[in-house]
């Protein structure tokens, strides 16, 4: 019977299946960070349990990490306590940890692929909803809560129901200045923040296949914002080339055997999806969000919507509330929205290619005098590579700040936050009320829009710079 890629990966990991019960799914890789693990380790300790597979577990410090003075003790006592709890737990339970100062440290969804731990056909979980990122490799990767973290630590399995299957096909050629971030923002605007609820999304089509691994990760990363369980892209030559030679990629005969298996990881001809969406990449433009959820986005040439245009009372109310929070008037061209801060980073767009794209636009220029720009590489490895390429100098010479690796301004948990009323253009993944700091106003953008915006001080596409 023809199967989808996600069905193949799911079925290959079923440990046990019984009528009237969820399946028991084996987990090939459990990624851990400091925020969603303390109570899980406490639970293990309280029940006298141990970690079943420390060798399939990897921890890092990312959410609380201050990106300035990353080697100094954390000033915030609550953050410090949480980081120290992870260090104690990792030591006690024999888990590998990449702490601040370690060459492998970084945002959890950046270091998995970086180390070659993320591979096609694996099941990968983490107590973080952006675990979907790893689906870019053709892995079934999804976020879990702390109770499930405890379950995986104890048993290396999870009770699961097979999800529904959705395909998003993007054909055609992306115009210049349009990136995978714009693709996924357009998809979420199209299907809504619960459009994929209950489904795993497979992204297919020529525009997807043309993307680099990092660009694919951006798309899979934000699958959760469409309500999806996970997002996958079938592995191909691009995937194998990215992986070959990475520290934990297989070698020699193991590599050959792995590639042979990975090459079978494609959706079969005739496999049935529960829902299908098709987009034409050539019609896409840079996309930005105007509202307070990732689905409230528009092409950058658009204008702030008018609540009166929404017939449904609930939708109208949502738009009114979003505009009130964001301090925006209906009809204002998005390109006239001025920002205070630009944030380039996060598990969505904090990798070397994102930094290169932004650096190219900023090279030899100065950012707007009233705009602050924070550039946060996604890992120590990304930071080192960027510095080897001289990108840090480009950012510093342009007047931007160059930071250490962590989740930073994506979410208000570490010192990098917006002040109340401050407006940002951010390459992260969520524009919820208060996400980047109490009262902070977030506009989600691609790295090239972030860089162009930093130059002008208002939402700007790279193409707009050419007309200046």
């Amino acid at each position: 019977m023809p199967k989808t890629l996600a069905e193949k990966v799911y079925e290959a990991h079923v440990v046990r299946s019984a009528a009237g019960e969820p399946d028991l799914l084996y987990i090939d890789l459990h990624l851990v960070h400091e925020v969603t693990s303390p109570q899980a380790f406490d639970g293990l300790r309280a029940a006298g349990r141990t970690v079943r597979r420390p060798d399939l577990t990897m921890a890092t410090e990312d959410h609380n990490v201050p990106t300035l003075d990353i080697l100094a003790p954390i000033a915030d006592p609550v953050s410090r306590a949480q980081i120290e709890a992870l260090r104690r737990n990792a030591a006690e339970f024999g888990i590998r940890l990449a702490p601040m100062g370690d060459r492998d440290q970084g945002i959890v969804h950046v270091i998995g692929p970086q180390l070659g731990l993320t591979q096609p056909g694996m099941t990968i979980v983490c107590g973080d909803s952006h675990t979907s990122t790893h689906g870019a490799f053709g892995a079934l990767a999804f976020g879990i809560g702390t109770s499930e973290v405890e379950h995986v630590l104890a048993t290396q399995t999870l009770p699961q129901y097979k999800p529904k299957q959705m395909s998003v096909t993007v054909n055609g050629q992306l115009p210049p200045g349009v990136s995978s971030k714009d693709i996924i923002l357009a998809v979420i605007a199209e299907i809504g923040t619960n459009g994929a609820q209950g489904h795993v999304i497979e992204y297919r089509g020529s525009a997807i296949e043309a993307l680099s691994m990092e660009s694919r990760m951006t798309i899979c990363n934000m699958s959760i914002e469409a309500g999806a369980k996970a997002g996958l892209i079938a592995p191909d030559r691009t995937t194998f080339d990215f992986l070959q030679g990475r520290p934990h990629a297989p070698q020699g005969a193991g590599w050959d055997a792995a590639v042979e298996h990975w090459s079978t990881l494609r959706t079969d001809e005739g496999a049935v999806f529960d829902r299908e969406v098709v987009l034409d990449a050539s019609t896409l433009t840079p996309f930005v969000t105007w509202g307070t959820n990732p689905g409230q986005g528009l092409p950058i040439a658009g204008i702030v919507p008018d609540p009166a245009d929404f017939a449904d009372e609930g939708e109208r109310r949502d738009v009114e509330q979003a505009l009130a929070y964001m301090g925006l008037e209906p009809g204002k061209p998005l390109r006239e929205i001025e920002v205070d801060t630009v944030f380039l980073g996060s598990c969505t767009n904090g990798r070397i290619e994102d930094l290169r794209v932004a650096a190219e636009l900023l090279r030899g220029k100065r950012i707007d005098a009233d705009t602050r720009m924070l550039v946060v590489p996604g890992s120590v490895g990304v930071k080192a590579q960027a510095e080897a390429e001289g990108l840090d100098r480009v950012f510093l010479d342009a007047g931007a700040e160059w930071r250490g690796a962590g989740c930073s301004m994506c979410l208000g948990m570490n010192p990098d936050q917006l002040e109340p009323g401050e407006r940002s253009a951010s390459t992260s993944n969520r524009n919820f009320q208060g996400r980047q700091g109490k009262g902070g106003r977030t506009h989600l953008v691609s790295p090239s829009v972030a860089a162009a915006t930093a130059l002008t001080g208002k939402l700007t596409a790279p193409a707009d710079l050419e007309t200046v």
């Binding site: 702390t146 109770s147 048993t155 009770p159 619960n194």
Partner: protein, 199 residues
């Protein structure tokens, strides 16, 4: 996890859709390493910035059932959102649709999520806004919500229902199948990656 059989209490109407888990509990509260005590973070931004926010109104102060607009619990996988609702005195959330991770987390934490069609949610909103003292009963055994003279059935996965009725924790249940886990592990190809030893 406390078993859930039936619960009766007053209900609070949250007339908002797409309530994300950052609103339910902001990230700064996630720095805590405790499992309880999150009630101070529950909807804190709305409670602080909106004096008229429903949970600030005294007639809803003791509500133990939250009736929310569609798409409740979107965004971050933080189980702290479910803990905050429980710590804040809620045992049930009723909505026409829940985000998957939030709904799944609630089954581990012992918070019951009940899906009712939007028209039923609207009817319940009308009733509890007219009389905040309305007693609402959520019966997991009979799978019914009852208030005033209204009885509405709801659907729930049988296995989840059984686990909640018995107050059973997933880890204990899985440990009955350790033989199957070992057998599966023996089949995993040698070239699959391991984080240890570090390379």
């Amino acid at each position: 996890m406390d078993a859930f059989t039936t619960h009766t209490g007053t209900a609070a109407p949250l007339r908002r859709s797409n309530v994300d888990t950052d609103q339910i509990i902001p990230a700064e509260y996630l720095k805590r390493i405790t499992r309880t005590g999150f009630e101070d973070g529950l909807f804190v931004a709305w409670r602080t910035n909106e004096p008229d926010f429903v949970l600030n109104q005294p007639q809803y102060a003791d509500a133990s059932i939250l009736v929310a607009g569609p798409d409740f619990g979107t965004g971050s996988s933080r189980e702290h959102a479910n803990w905050a609702l429980l710590d804040g005195g809620f045992r049930v959330v009723i909505s026409s649709r829940f985000a998957d991770i939030f709904r799944n987390n609630s089954t581990k934490a012992g918070l019951l999520t009940v899906v009712l069609p939007q028209e039923q949610v609207e009817a319940l909103w009308t009733a509890i806004e007219a009389d905040p003292a309305t007693q609402v009963t959520v019966d997991l055994q009979s799978k019914q919500v009852t208030y005033a003279d209204v009885t509405v059935p709801f659907e729930i996965d049988d296995y989840v229902r059984w686990r909640l009725l018995e107050g059973l924790d997933d880890v204990g249940l899985t440990e009955r199948n350790l033989d199957d886990i070992e057998a599966f592990e023996a089949t995993r190809p040698a070239w699959l990656p391991a984080a240890l030893p570090a390379r």
